[in-house]
Amino acid sequence: MEDDSDEALMAAVAARRQQAFRLLMTRHMPRAIRVAQRIVRNPAEADDIGQEAFLRVWNKAESFDPTIARFTTWLYRIVLNLAFDRTRRPAHAPIEEAAEIASGEPAPIDGLIADQQRRVLEAALAQLPERQRGAIALFHMEGLSGDEAARAMGLSAKAFESLLARARLALKKEVETIEKTRRLA
């Protein structure tokens, strides 16, 4: 079963086989949480979205049709819908690192640079609308092709191209502003 494709595992999930479902969660829960966190920016909410998404996978397994979409596209779509719903609700201020526990060991210099870059990126992403954050997460972070990401977001290829261009441009401006402010400080 370990070597089965996601789509084959989904057929087993539709037949209520929990082992197949556990395997799907092992493979894809990290990416569900990662994409959710990129959009909602709150680790606790991202975890909730990951859970809710897989609960839907279990409950709606019969409605999954592998001839229409790949499992990952379907899962991303569920995660994005849940995440966009959450961002529309009035929320508490995001607690970026709430679920993370910092290591006590000194970080190597590469790690520090990466951390700094991550912080700049997080701050810049926070200024973007949630759909633009979603486009960046799917294409750049998850490495989906333009077509796959467009399908996951329910957009045409052309609309996705334009959304991604707007997102990159806005993000570039934000990163430059943050860098400039940091240099002045």
Binding site: I33, L55, A99, I136, M141, G146, S162, R168
Partner: protein, 139 residues
């Protein structure tokens, strides 16, 4: 492909031509070999690397979330929603019996000829007369 279209695609999809839409890749590769094209791609590559940085996710988080999903499924199976409970065979038995009895009574009422029999009317009246019989026995 014009240089403007090449720049548009780089603005959308970044500095790796292999990730651009398949239909435009071949023409884009030719421009990428020129100085102007190579400069546009170079400009976007560093930004692409920044965008690809994932948020930090502690290793245990996915495992804990998966466990919570399994617990929620177990809870949901242990106490199914009311409509599923009503559709259980044990719930359908009394409902089915009542429906069959009602249908049988209705069928008998329609099919049997009506004869007014004074003796039968008197017997029924006696049975239902509260002064003679109650639910708790003879008065």
């Amino acid at each position: 492909m014009t240089l403007d279209r090449f720049r548009e695609l780089a603005d959308s999809f970044g500095g790796d031509v292999e990730r651009w839409p398949e239909a435009e890749r071949e023409a884009a590769r030719a421009i990428a070999r020129s100085d102007a094209g190579a400069a546009i791609l170079r400009e976007h590559r560093a930004f692409d690397r920044l965008l690809a940085i994932p948020p930090e996710i502690a290793p245990g988080r996915a495992g804990r979330a998966s466990l919570s999903v399994l617990q929620r499924i177990a809870a949901q199976d242990a106490f199914p929603p009311w409509y599923r409970r009503w559709l259980q065979p044990t719930s359908l038995l009394p409902v089915g019996s009542f429906a069959c009895s009602a249908l049988l009574g209705l069928w008998l009422a329609v099919e049997l000829p009506y004869h007014r029999d004074e003796q039968a009317v008197a017997a029924v009246a006696a049975v239902f007369d509260a002064s003679v019989i109650t639910l708790w026995g003879n008065q």
